[in-house]
C-alpha cells in the first residue's frame, strides 16, 4: 500500500495544496451556498452569490418543516427511518451469512452462483421494475414498505455480498481453525470470530445502505401511493411540484435538513467507510 506514497517530488507542496484547495472549494461551494441560502429571503437567494445571509432567519426552516400538506416533515423523516432501519438490519444479516458461505464453504453450484451474483451488479435495475411491481401487487404489498425492505432480507443487494466476500477472503483462517479445534459450531464461529473480523466491512455496508436508502427515489415513487407513507425524498419532490408559486427558501431549508442525516452518518464512520469501499473496489 505504502510503496508509492513514499515518493518525493520537487514540486513545492504549496502548489499542490492550492490546486487541491481550489478543486475542493469549487466542488463544495454549492453545498456551502445552500446552507447560507437557507437563511436568506426569496429575493436575496436569487441575487447574491455570497454565503453570508443578510439576516439569520429560521423562518424558512419552520415553514418548510410544516409543509403545505397535512403532515410535517417529522412524519416524512419517521417514514424514511421506518424504511431504512429494518432494511439495514436485514441487509447486514443476510449479506454476512451469504458472504460467509461464498468465502469459506464448498457447496454445489458455488462458482455459478458467484458468477450470477457478480453479473447482477451490472444489470440495469429498471428492467426488473415492471414484473416486480406486478409481483408486489399480487402479494398486496403496494403502498407498504415491504417491497422496499423484503428483497434486501434475501441478500439481493449483491454489491454488499461481494464487498464482504472480498474482505473475508483477505483474512487468514488461523483463528477459525483454532476455534474449530476448541469445538465451536458454525454459528458460534460466525458470531464470535467472523463478525468481529468483518466489523469494518459491516460498517461500510451500514453506511452505504443508509445513504442509498435515504437517497432512493424511484422505489418509493413506484410503490408508495398515499402521502402519509412518503419518505423524505418523495416529500421533497412534492414540495416543489405542489404549487406553481414555490416558496424556494422553504424548499432550500428542508433540502439542508434532508441532507443532514447522510452527512452525519458519513462523518461518523468516514474512516472505515472509505477504506471499506476502496478495498473491495465497490462503487459509491
Amino acid at each position: 500500500m505504502s510503496g508509492a506514497a513514499m515518493q518525493t517530488t520537487e514540486r513545492p507542496p504549496l502548489m499542490r495544496y492550492l490546486i487541491l484547495g481550489c478543486i475542493a472549494l469549487i466542488m463544495l461551494y454549492p453545498l456551502i451556498w445552500l446552507v447560507g441560502a437557507s437563511f436568506k429571503s426569496n429575493a436575496e437567494i436569487f441575487s447574491s452569490a455570497g454565503f453570508w445571509p443578510n439576516r439569520l432567519d429560521f423562518g424558512a426552516y419552520a415553514a418548510g418543516w410544516k409543509t403545505s400538506t397535512e403532515y410535517t416533515f417529522a412524519t416524512y423523516f419517521l417514514n424514511s427511518f421506518l424504511i431504512t432501519v429494518p432494511k439495514i438490519i436485514v441487509t447486514v444479516i443476510s449479506c454476512v451469512l451469504v458472504a460467509y458461505a461464498f468465502a469459506r464453504f464448498e457447496f454445489w453450484g458455488k462458482k455459478l452462483m458467484f458468477g450470477v451474483m457478480v453479473s447482477t451488479m451490472m444489470l440495469p435495475l429498471i428492467i426488473l421494475r415492471m414484473p416486480q411491481y406486478l409481483m408486489f401487487r399480487e402479494l398486496g404489498w403496494l403502498d407498504t414498505y415491504l417491497p422496499l425492505i423484503v428483497p434486501s432480507a434475501f441478500a439481493t443487494d449483491t454489491f454488499f455480498v461481494f464487498m464482504l466476500v472480498q474482505f473475508l477472503r483477505a483474512i487468514p483462517r488461523d483463528m477459525e481453525e483454532a476455534a474449530l479445534i476448541d469445538g465451536c459450531n458454525a454459528l458460534q464461529l460466525l458470531w464470535h470470530i467472523i463478525v468481529p473480523l468483518l466489523k469494518p466491512a459491516i460498517i461500510s455496508v451500514i453506511v452505504f445502505q443508509f445513504i442509498w436508502t435515504m437517497n432512493d427515489f424511484m422505489g418509493p415513487l413506484i410503490y408508495l401511493a398515499s402521502v402519509e407513507n412518503y419518505p423524505v425524498s418523495l416529500a421533497l419532490k412534492m414540495s416543489i411540484g405542489a404549487t406553481e408559486e414555490v416558496e424556494w427558501s422553504n424548499v432550500i431549508a428542508i433540502s439542508v435538513v434532508a441532507l443532514l442525516p447522510s452527512i452525519a452518518v458519513f462523518f461518523a464512520a468516514q474512516k472505515h467507510f472509505i477504506e471499506g469501499a476502496t478495498s473491495s473496489g465497490v462503487k459509491g
Binding site: 458461505a101 464453504f105 429498471i126 434475501f154 437517497n215 458519513f266
Partner: protein, 294 residues
Amino acid sequence: MYENKRLGFMFVLPFLLGILFFKLFPFVASFALSLTQYDLIDPPQWVGLENYRDLAINDPLFTQSLGVTLAFVFLAVPLRVGFALLVAHVLNHKMRGINFFRAAFYIPSILGGSIAVAVLWRFIFAKHGLVNIILIKLGIEPIAWLADEHYSMLTIVLLFTWQFGSSMVIFLAALQNVPASLYEAAECDGASKLQQFWRITVPLITPVIFFNMIMQMVHGFQEFNGPYMITEGGPLNSTYVLTLYIYDQSFKYFNLGYGAALSWVLFALVGALALISFWSSRYWVFYAGEKDIK
C-alpha cells in the same frame, strides 16, 4: 467443517431464494411482458415482437431518447472517470491533510443521488441562480441553462461528473500500489512528470481504469434522479433519457409491455457496450502478474 456442503448450502440459501424470486424471475418475466400489451386493467395481450417493431420504426420519441442517453453516457462517464483519475493523481502524495481532501471529494458521491441535491442543482442553474449571478459579475451574458436545449444536457452531465469521488478513492488505492522504484528509475533517465504519468502510471493501472469505466457506464445508463428532478426530461426532450421514458411508459401511462420492451433495449445496449469493452480490453488493459482487480 468448511467441506460440509450441506452446511454451506444452508448459509447461501437466502441468496439463492432472493436471486430466484427477486432477480431471475422478474428478469425473465420482463422479457415475456415485453411481448405483450398490458395496461393493468385488461389481461395482458400477446403481441409478439410488435412492441420492438413499433419502437424501431414509428416512435420518434424513442429515437430521440436513445440519442440523448448515448450522448449523456459518452460525455458524462469519461468526464467522471477522467476527473477521478486526475484528482487521485494529484492527491497521491505523502502529505498532511490527505484525509480531509479525500473526504471533501467524496461527499458529492454520497449526496449526489439525493433529491435534495437535485433541488440544489435546479437553483444553481436557474435563470437567476448561482451560476448566472457569478457570470453577470464576471461581465458574461447569463445563460438559460435549464430552458435552453443546448445547455440542459450540460447541467445533468455536470451533476454526474461532480460525483467522481467513489471512482477517485478506487484510483487512489491503485496508485498507491504502483512501485516507487519505477518512478525513481524514470527520473534517472530524465523522464518528465507528464511522461511518467503516461508511460508508467496509466499503463500500470489500466485494469482499474477499465473497472471504473464499466461500472460507471452501467450507472450512467441508469441515471434517473437528475433528469427527472432537474430538467424533467426537457426542454424539447433534450434530456429525456431512456430510464425516464421507460418510467413514463410503465408507471405514468401504464403501457407495461412497451415499457418492458424499452427496458430490454436499454439492457441490450449496456450488454453490447460491456462486451465491446471486454473485447477491446485485450488491447489496452495489462494485468501485471495477478488477475485481481483491487
